[in-house]
Amino acid sequence: MNAIPLNFFLLVAAVLFAIGVAGVLVRRNALVILMSIELMLNAVNLTFITFAAKWQALDGQLFVFFIMAVAAAEVAVGLAVIISVFRLRGTVHVDEINLLKG
């Protein structure tokens, strides 16, 4: 049987997570930063499902289910915050939202 080693899936998840971290650190648009956070959450989901397949247990998949629920709530509130900030400051550029800067 030509089977894929399970750690290949973990390698893909690691690469996707690192790309997400780079996006959060480098991009200056608040929307794209939120998208990069979604990418990191998905990388973690892939890790959970890989380990569910390794241990032949369903619990990993249920964790992914709950992570998806939390991600949906997080995106709704995060986008509402971004809309609110845009109304107040007229930009979503995170370097210009510096009211807390001393």
Partner: protein, 170 residues
């Protein structure tokens, strides 16, 4: 067959994730992120998580990304301005730290086939609706109920934040 599908979906996911992070226009970023989510749904299916693969397409590629595209439309965003020269250092450090983290994760994940085993040809755990539903309504009943409260809080919070009249509004 499974190796071909794996390399196709993995390559698609990584390539479109890279394009998402590097593209200037937020609309294209959203579209590349949708492609990444579809590729990840394919990987979930290979791992035997049929229900989650469908949910990934419906919730992430459907609902969440529609929300993103709507907000991009509402805000009427222009393209990102180039970083001023002094800020280049900041993004350089960002890439370096992300690369360090990525190498660390890769080293851990590359620990070897002997540790992690292989994906056998027949589907390993089949995450069907029936089995997931049975677990959700027995072992994971309390987390399930708490998740519904969390989603309700999210709805209320989003409505309040989105509709409030702000003092400095022009």
């Amino acid at each position: 067959m499974i190796p071909i599908l794996f390399f196709f979906f993995a390559g698609l996911a990584i390539a479109s994730a890279l394009l998402m992070v590097t593209h200037k226009n937020p609309v294209y970023c959203a579209i590349f992120l949708i492609i990444t989510f579809f590729a990840l749904a394919g990987l979930y299916f290979l791992l035997g998580a049929q229900f989650l693969s469908v949910v990934q397409v419906i919730i992430y590629a459907g609902a969440i990304m529609v929300l993103f595209v709507f907000v991009i439309m509402l805000l009427n965003l222009s393209e990102e301005v180039r970083l001023p020269a002094g800020r280049r250092l900041q993004s350089g450090f960002g890439i370096v730290f992300a690369a360090i983290l990525g190498v660390q994760l890769l080293v851990i994940a590359a620990a070897g086939t002997r540790v992690f085993g292989r994906l056998s040809g027949d589907t390993p755990v089949s995450g069907t609706v029936e089995r997931l539903g049975a677990a959700l309504f027995s072992t994971y009943l309390y987390p399930f109920e708490i998740a519904s409260v969390l989603l309700l809080t999210g709805i209320v919070g989003a409505i309040i934040l989105g509709s409030k009249k702000l003092p400095k509004e022009q």
